[in-house]
């Protein structure tokens, strides 16, 4: 297990940190949000130009060959910089779903195409056990029909990676992945913004033309792995965001004066800040474990570790976010203060990629499966 960042990862981190300072400073972010600009194409192009959208992919397909751990280093720095652009959904999630030789993958890496994964269906909040969306063969390929919900980052995507059943059968193996163009006929998209300034979409497909990008037998396994990677990635993002909160809070308590002294001189304030650090470092360790297993084909252990990491990171995020707000006092609950933005993002992360109950139950299922054979 790589317990410290590699030199490459430190460089990636420095690169992103600089980019965040130059193009995503909090004042700048506030200004564009006030104008309703929830996606910054210029920032996204910079990410592409710096090669950051290629981080996890092998050199053969035009990537930089760093694997998941390099992407995690990027994500952590993006989290620290409060970047709202859909890096995880594109690079980590959809990136893991696209075949190596896909021109869409190349277009995503170059920043030309924005993707989103349309998998969950209405009525379910966790990964669906049973898909209703159906793929029928047509003259030119396939047409898809069905409803997809919780398509995060779907508000800005131009292409959707969609899961659908290829046969009338209810068999697990009958699920495949397809690409659907947002502007294709039969594609109805309802977008929304989320409380963490990201967004999503609900999609209705009515015989929408689609291109199959997976064999029919392997999609669910691939989807599970890709979702695990996305989960490990939000753990890394959460660590970055928590780091930002620890930094902001240690700065703030040194300067905020009440009762004739800095509030950082009060022992209770000191210990609360120390507890933020305890939680941050605990979460960092869990994110390291998740990152290590994200590329592992040992499915059961990968699921166990990543679920455990998400559970622990969720709890740390809860504590760190609320304590940062508390120690900032009145200022902490205003929109003018970055702390509230991190609070909302960390709250959203806790719910995303499976909440703690989802992962607790998954750990139970994994344990049962590990014992049986």
């Amino acid at each position: 297990m790589a317990l410290v960042k590699s030199d490459t990862q430190r460089e990636l981190e420095a690169l992103v940190t600089r980019l965040m300072r130059d193009k995503n400073a909090f004042g700048h972010l506030q200004a564009r949000l006030a104008q309703g600009q929830y996606f910054d194409r210029d920032l996204w192009s910079s990410l592409a130009q710096l090669g950051l959208l290629c981080a996890p992919f092998s050199e053969e397909v035009g990537g930089t060959g760093g694997g998941f751990a390099d992407a995690a280093a990027v994500v952590e720095a993006l989290g620290r910089g409060l970047c709202i652009e859909p890096y995880i959904d594109n690079v980590v999630l959809c990136g893991a779903l696209l075949p190596d030789d896909s021109s869409t993958l190349a277009a995503m890496m170059s920043g030309e195409k924005l993707l989103a994964f349309a998998h969950t269906e209405p009525g379910a909040t966790d990964a669906p056990a049973q898909l209703e969306t159906r793929a029928d063969q047509s003259d030119n390929g396939y047409v898809l029909s069905g409803d997809k919900s919780h398509v995060f980052s779907g508000h800005v995507a131009d292409t959707y990676v969609v899961s659908a059943r290829t046969l009338g059968s209810e068999e697990r193996s009958a699920v495949a992945l397809f690409l659907v163009d947002r502007n294709a006929p039969g594609v109805n998209v309802k977008t929304y913004i989320t409380h963490d300034n990201r967004g999503g979409a609900e999609i209705r497909l009515q015989e929408a033309p689609a291109q199959r990008i997976s064999s029919e037998g392997e999609a669910l396994t691939a989807i599970g792995w890709a979702c695990d990677k996305a989960t490990a990635a939000v753990c890394a993002e959460a660590v970055g965001a928590m780091q930002a909160l620890v930094d902001a809070t240690s700065d703030y308590i040194r300067t905020r004066r009440q009762f004739g002294t800095n509030i950082g001189s009060f022992q209770v304030v000191q210990h609360m800040t120390a507890d933020m650090l305890v939680n941050l470092e605990h979460a960092r360790s869990l994110a390291i474990a998740a990152s290590h297993y994200a590329d592992s084909s040992d499915e059961l252990e990968r699921m166990r570790v990543i679920s455990a990491a998400k559970i622990g990171v969720n709890e740390a995020a809860r504590f760190v976010a609320k304590t940062a707000v508390q120690l900032h006092g009145g200022i902490g609950v205003t929109e003018e203060c970055a702390v509230g933005h991190y609070f909302r993002r960390l709250s959203a992360i806790r719910l995303s990629c499976g909440d703690s109950y989802y992962h607790l139950e998954r750990m139970g299922r994994v344990e049962d499966q590990k014992i049986i054979p």
């Binding site: 009525g123 379910a124 909040t125 966790d126 919780h150 929304y192 913004i193 989320t194 409380h195 963490d196 999503g200 004066r257 009440q258 009762f259 004739g260 009060f266 209770v268 304030v269 809860r318 609320k322 707000v325 508390q326 006092g329 009145g330 902490g332 609950v333 205003t334 929109e335 003018e336 509230g340 609070f343 909302r344 709250s347 959203a348 806790r350 719910l351 995303s352 909440d355 703690s356 109950y357």
Partner: protein
């Protein structure tokens, strides 16, 4: 319960408390109710006969009041407030800035804490003034909070002329009056009505959400705690003498419970709570509606303020340490 002669009901503290509690429990709009708990009793206790005439229009919400206490540099540390009121013979000339002024953008009246004497120790130089919000020199600017809503404001006071008779009590009595006023918070500090409403909504969520039943034990733990707070609230109301620590003991528990309610609600709602719906943001009553999680995320964010405003939890602890433990 204000005296009948001033347009009140004459209710005792328990009746009053039940009234507020039921309003909250039923989710009634409470925007200006708190004025009845705050400035109202002050006017009865310290006000001139003329000032007491302000009670009736307050009760009918003809007058909508806001409170100008906190300042940018004086949050928990009220004694350090800087807004000055100079005695100009026939009027006070007020200059300064107030922060966290709830509903200043709706109000037509404000009661202010101002510094009228800088030569004495900080607590002694504070007075309370009443002013009309349309007085020239009063400017209200919105402060958008973590829930992305507009409830609180900055109030800038520039050469604001306040009639001499608009002082409440004596010059320099402001600190005592503020303490009296904050002491009156014991009516409703338990926030039992809101908590019961939250429990009801939580139970509805548990029933309606997929997998909601997994959270039913947590809801019952909260229900148990609400019972304790309800009894504590009654004990506080019925107590013959109230020490400074008792409202603080209760406020710590009730704010903790309220925050846990919102955290739990958010967990039950899951990712469905993420979409931001501008329309539902107008609903600022502090509790999401049944059968909708539209503004739940905002309510959850706003609930962080329970341990900050009205004295942070850290300040409440300090009060207990001093008053109950004598340390």
């Amino acid at each position: 319960g204000f005296p009948v002669e001033y347009g009140g009901t004459g209710w005792d503290i328990v009746q009053q408390s039940i009234y507020f509690s039921v309003l909250a429990e039923e989710g009634a709009p409470m925007n200006n109710m708190w004025a009845q708990k705050m400035i109202g009793p002050v006017l009865i206790a310290y006000g001139t006969d003329q000032q007491k005439q302000l009670i009736a229009p307050m009760l009918s919400v003809e007058d909508f009041w806001c409170q100008g206490f906190s300042e940018p540099g004086a949050g928990s540390d009220l004694a350090s407030l800087k807004t000055r009121a100079e005695d100009r013979g026939d009027h006070w000339l007020v200059n300064g800035q107030k922060l966290w002024t709830t509903n200043a953008h709706h109000a037509n009246k404000i009661f202010l804490l101002v510094r009228t004497d800088t030569s004495v120790k900080p607590q002694k130089g504070i007075s309370m003034l009443l002013a009309d919000m349309d007085t020239p020199g009063i400017e209200v600017r919105p402060v958008i909070t973590i829930d992305r809503r507009h409830e609180v404001n900055e109030v800038f006071l520039t050469d604001v002329v306040v009639p001499k008779e608009n002082i409440v009590g004596e010059p320099g009595q402001g600190w005592d009056i503020a303490k009296f006023l904050l002491g009156n918070e014991r009516v409703g500090i338990a926030e039992v009505g809101l908590q019961k409403l939250l429990l009801r909504r939580l139970k509805a969520l548990v029933k309606s959400r997929p997998g909601g039943h997994r959270y039913s034990s947590e809801v019952r733990r909260l229900e148990a705690d609400v019972l304790g707070v309800e009894v504590s609230g009654l004990r506080l109301l019925k107590a013959e003498s109230v020490s400074a620590s008792e409202p603080s003991l209760l406020k710590l528990k009730s704010s903790e419970i309220i925050q846990r309610c919102f955290e739990l609600a958010l967990e039950i709602a899951g990712v469905d709570a993420l979409p931001y719906d501008e329309a539902s943001q107008l609903h600022t009553e502090g509790c999401w509606l049944d059968a909708s999680v539209g503004n739940l995320f905002s309510d959850y964010c706003e609930s962080r303020a329970y341990t900050i405003f009205g004295g942070t939890s850290e300040i409440q602890h300090n009060i207990i340490v001093k008053s109950a433990l004598g340390l």
